[in-house]
């Protein structure tokens, strides 16, 4: 497979494009996904004015037309619910919830419908849908456009939750999510869109529920996802200069979760730090630590540590927001506090 | 000649009178449904082409959605302003194209804007406004059938039209506006929300029609001395400070005691000079001109209005002639 360097944004676009070419039942809808393509002066030329707020869908409307790339009114309940209905009757919809914070408007359709149909109907329904959504702080977008919130979805049985950190992972995981027969919440950190990485041109999938060790080490394990993978790798680099070798485990999906990789790593390093951009209560951080406490307590040489955002909404002012987001320094000092 | 022009006003029936009176709501979906029936009737009569004014609310497109028609429905090419300029421009184009007749959906204001440019083309006016005198409450199907017969010249329509009266408003000797029913001097300084509903803010009224069975300014006159569309007269009424009051329905469900000082009849061609003042002039129920005390305002009653189809008489004649009758052998 020929690979070349593309951005995270392009990788996601490419996964959708290739899956849509491969399978005519894959459709995409959400607010401004065709981006003004419905306007009379745009018609015929199949142009688009936006391709989404941050341009992730550029080129999809022109290629697949308006029957497969649909703008929606600002009616999240209706169109997320429509994805559930369409998925359980034969399509593989990708519904785009622009910012994850908007989940509040449509939570019932995800939580009571999408997540539960298969179980409630005794296995007679499948809901092969993907909800793609932007997450994360650092964009100066304030409290209602900056959450991570993946922990909330991880709490819900029936949903799969995926948080990619690299272009390569994003493409492979999204393809897998689209082909998966369960509802998948796919989270894209908005500050990762511009990062670049090697990505094969062809279609490939990365199984959901497989973590990846992004850096090997022996002194401590950092378990993390999304943008925090990059922070953790940067911290690992700094720690290596001081002779501390940390292992960085990128979970990639939170549901299903790759417990084996976490446990294997902790058994090797005997120390665990979880770096999580989400709020701390009932979260990815507490979940991973609970697993380790439950199944690998005897291997631990130190208390597990969690580095998370504080238990507050995301503030607007740049200095406050930077203070809110877990920092590379805090990772370095936390690891040092028990390897030191 | 055998084409029909359609002008449907998306804005009619939505003004402030829903707040300040008890006006009915004419929702745009209903306008589209009426248009649908109009189209089906026209199509049944074999009219090959219908031209229509585009509008931002897409009334006609909605009406045509899913309809299987033999006729061709074409939208006029024109710049849109989303106000009455659109209506006048559409009427001008219809006139240039010499369509067989124009169907209007709207109120008095809509027809006034059509009348500015439609010349001799007969109008079938369907009421979809608030309190209208000019257009009639007529079923769309029936209006469409009449228009179809007129366009196809099945029965000569000219004999069943009447020429409406027209009031011409001159500001400093320039014709600034026309009206088909009434010209009203309102003491408000700004056009604002346009509608009139408070007789205390009305000073003078010039009427082309004074109809006691209508709502609005026309009725104030109508209760003093009725004048129908074909009477060759108009009326001037001065309100305030007089000794005659009339109990008039000035708006839907809004009945007020209106204090009148004097009234007099006007004959065709006669002019009234309005009292100078800073005020607004309303035409056919809508404040339209903001005028100043130094300006000289004259209103002239003429018979230069549009030609209006009397649908009922026309269809009776069509029946008498058996135009839609076929004897099966």
């Amino acid at each position: 497979m020929a690979a070349r360097t593309i951005t995270f944004r392009e990788a996601i676009n490419e996964a959708m494009r290739l899956e849509m070419r491969r399978d005519p039942t894959v459709i995409l809808f959400g607010e401004d996904v065709a981006g003004g393509a419905t306007l009379p002066h745009m018609e015929g030329e199949n142009k688009e004015a936006w391709g989404g707020v941050l341009g992730v869908r550029t080129g999809l409307a022109p290629e697949f037309g308006r029957n497969r790339v649909l703008d929606t009114p600002i009616s999240e309940s209706a169109f997320i619910g429509a994805a559930v209905g369409a998925a359980s009757t034969g399509l593989r919809p990708i519904a785009e919830l622009m910012f994850i914070d908007f989940l509040g408007v449509c939570f019932d359709q995800i939580f009571n419908q999408g997540a539960k149909l298969r179980y409630m109907f005794g296995g007679k329904a499948q809901v092969p849908m993907v909800v793609r959504s932007m997450i994360g702080a650092g964009f100066r977008a304030a409290a209602q456009h900056s959450g991570c919130l993946y922990s909330i979805f991880t709490h819900i049985p029936g949903l799969k939750t995926v948080v990619p950190s690299t272009p390569y992972d994003a493409k492979g995981l999204l393809s897998a999510a689209i082909r998966d027969n369960d509802p998948v919440m796919f989270f894209e950190h908005k500050l990762l869109y511009d990062i670049e990485g090697e990505v094969p041109e062809d279609n490939y999938t990365i199984p959901l529920g497989e973590a990846e060790v992004k850096r090997e080490g022996s002194d401590a394990t950092i378990v993390t996802v999304g943008r925090m993978v990059h922070f953790s790798l940067e911290a690992a680099e700094k720690l290596a200069n001081d002779g501390v070798n940390v292992e960085v485990v990128d979970l990639r999906s939170l549901s299903p979760m790759d417990g084996d990789t976490i446990l294997d790593s902790v058994k090797k390093t005997h120390r665990l730090v979880v770096v999580d951009e989400d709020n701390p209560r009932c979260s990815l951080a507490t979940d991973v630590i609970a697993l380790v406490a439950d199944q690998a307590f005897d291997y631990l040489d130190a208390p597990c540590k969690m580095i998370t955002a504080p238990h507050t909404p995301v503030p607007f002012s740049p200095g406050l927001e930077d203070a809110y987001i877990p920092s590379v320094e805090s990772i370095v000092s936390t690891v040092k506090s028990f390897t030191g | 000649m055998s084409t029909i022009g359609i002008i449907a006003n998306p804005a009619s029936g939505k003004d402030i009178r829903r707040l300040v009176t008890h006006a009915s709501v004419f929702d745009n979906l209903e306008k589209s449904h009426i248009l649908r029936r109009v189209f089906l009737a026209i199509d049944a009569l074999g009219v090959p082409q219908v031209l229509y004014m585009p509008d931002y609310d897409g009334l006609v497109e909605k009406a045509l959605k899913g309809l299987k028609l033999s006729l061709k429905a074409d939208q006029l090419h024109m710049d849109m302003w989303a106000d009455e300029r659109d209506t006048t421009e559409a009427a001008r184009q219809f006139c240039e194209m010499d369509v067989g007749c124009i169907i209007t959906l709207g109120g008095d204001g809509t027809n006034r804007a059509v009348a500015k440019a439609c010349s001799e083309i007969p109008i079938v006016a369907i009421s979809t406004g608030t309190n209208n005198v000019f257009p009639s409450m007529i079923e769309g199907t029936v209006a469409g059938m009449a228009a179809g017969m007129a366009a196809r010249e099945m029965v000569d329509v000219d004999r069943f039209t009447y020429v409406a009266k027209r009031l011409e408003v001159y500001v400093d000797d320039q014709m600034a506006e026309i009206a088909l029913i009434d010209v009203v001097v309102c003491t408000e300084l700004f056009v604002g929300s346009r509608a009139l509903w408070d007789p205390h803010r009305i000073r003078e009224i010039v009427l082309a029609r004074a109809e006691p069975d209508c709502i609005g300014m026309s009725c104030i006159g109508g209760l003093l001395h009725p004048l129908g569309p074909r009477d060759p007269q108009g009326m001037y009424v001065r309100l305030g400070g007089g000794n005659t009051t009339v109990l008039a329905p000035v708006g839907p469900g809004l009945i007020s005691k209106v204090d009148t000082r004097e009234y007099r009849l006007l004959s065709l061609g006669e002019e009234v000079v309005l009292e100078p003042a800073a005020c607004t002039i309303a035409v056919d129920g809508e404040r339209q001109l903001e005028v100043f005390a130094h300006q000289k305002i004259r209103v002239r009653l003429t018979n230069r209005g549009p030609r209006v189809v009397d649908v009922r008489r026309y269809l009776y004649e069509a029946s008498r002639r058996g135009v839609l009758r076929t004897v099966v052998k």
Binding site: W50, L320 | F190, V191
Partner: protein, 322 residues
């Protein structure tokens, strides 16, 4: 229409403040001085101004992501607004909310809002307060054409009518929800018509005509104040700037932009008010320079204000985590 000379002066100053504030913000944003994104209200000044002219400080409004105009019209301090857009400690929300969340509850401004359609239910709440406590306070809910499609707005309009609340719903139909045209996202292509569905009057007005809005809002707010229930006013207009700053507005044709420029609400107001002799050219010029100074002062205030201290991250919220 209860329009006095004083009211007109005030209205002009308010509209001008909104325009200059937005122009200043656009400039600062282009210079890279402002964090995040900003949604500008320029072009829609007549709506907030014409409506809020009938409200006192005790009345409430709910707003949208495009909230600067509503704030100014409701009397929120301009210095604190500019500082908030910067994220400074002196901001209306101590820099914690930013452009999309400017609020001043003391002035009856229940916040710009990042969630489209969220204002409707909040407005029902403050309406319910007024009704329950028997005050004559009115709440105005501003919302966009895009927001009109949100379930929350439908639910709120229905609830307000069920409970006969003193709420006026003002839809600012500027033709677009981000890049999606109103003709696409609104199936029935008319928002005022929806009043019928909830049993309230629905009126459409020209959203660029201050006088029309002022007169209509006066009647609707009066109706609400008298306890006669909610109304819906759809104001049709446009926005001059993109959805947010940085949006190149490819979805709007040049002709449309030109047509909009010809309908400028402030120019229109100025022309008619001066022709009438109610405002003089001198008064306008004086106000223009006064307003320009106010905006410049706000800019300087924001620039020289301090950033919030980091400990602010943990205040104004119940934090219970060891």
């Amino acid at each position: 229409m209860s329009l006095t000379k004083e009211k007109m002066l005030e209205a002009y100053a308010t509209m001008k403040k909104i325009r200059l504030f937005e122009e200043k913000v656009a400039g600062l944003f282009a210079e890279g001085k402002l964090p995040g994104f900003v949604h500008l209200y320029a072009g829609e000044e007549a709506i907030a101004t014409g409506v809020c002219a009938h409200l006192s400080e005790r009345d409430y409004i709910t707003s949208t992501h495009r909230g600067h105009g509503h704030c100014i019209a409701k009397g929120v301090d301009i210095n604190s607004m500019m500082a908030e857009v910067y994220g400074k400690a002196t901001g209306a929300c101590k820099g914690k909310g930013g452009s999309m969340h400017i609020a001043d509850v003391d002035k009856g401004m229940l916040g710009a809002n990042g969630i489209v359609g969220a204002g409707g239910p909040l407005a029902c709440g403050s309406g319910l307060m007024a009704k329950t406590l028997g005050t004559d306070q009115v709440t105005v809910c501003f919302f966009g054409d895009g927001a009109a499609e949100q379930g929350t707005m439908h639910e709120a309009m229905n609830l307000a009518c069920c409970w006969i609340l003193p709420v006026v719903f003002v839809c600012e139909n500027n033709g677009y929800a981000e890049s999606t045209p109103w003709g696409y996202h609104c199936a029935a292509k008319n928002i005022a018509d929806r009043g019928v569905a909830y049993d309230m009057p629905g009126v459409t007005v020209d959203g660029t005509d201050f006088f029309a809005i002022y007169e209509t809002a006066e009647e609707a707010i009066g109706r609400a104040r008298r306890g006669e229930g909610p109304s819906l006013i759809e104001c049709r207009g446009f926005r001059y700037y993109g959805h947010f700053e940085g949006d190149a507005m490819l979805y709007v044709t040049e002709e449309e932009k030109k047509r909009n420029r010809a309908r400028d609400p402030i120019e229109n107001f100025k022309k008619r008010a001066t022709e009438r002799g109610l405002l003089s050219e001198e008064q306008i010029a004086e106000l223009d320079s006064k307003v320009a100074a106010i905006i410049e002062e706000a800019f300087k205030f924001a620039e020289k204000s301090a950033w919030p201290e980091n400990k602010e991250v943990l205040t104004d919220v119940y934090v219970n985590y060891p």
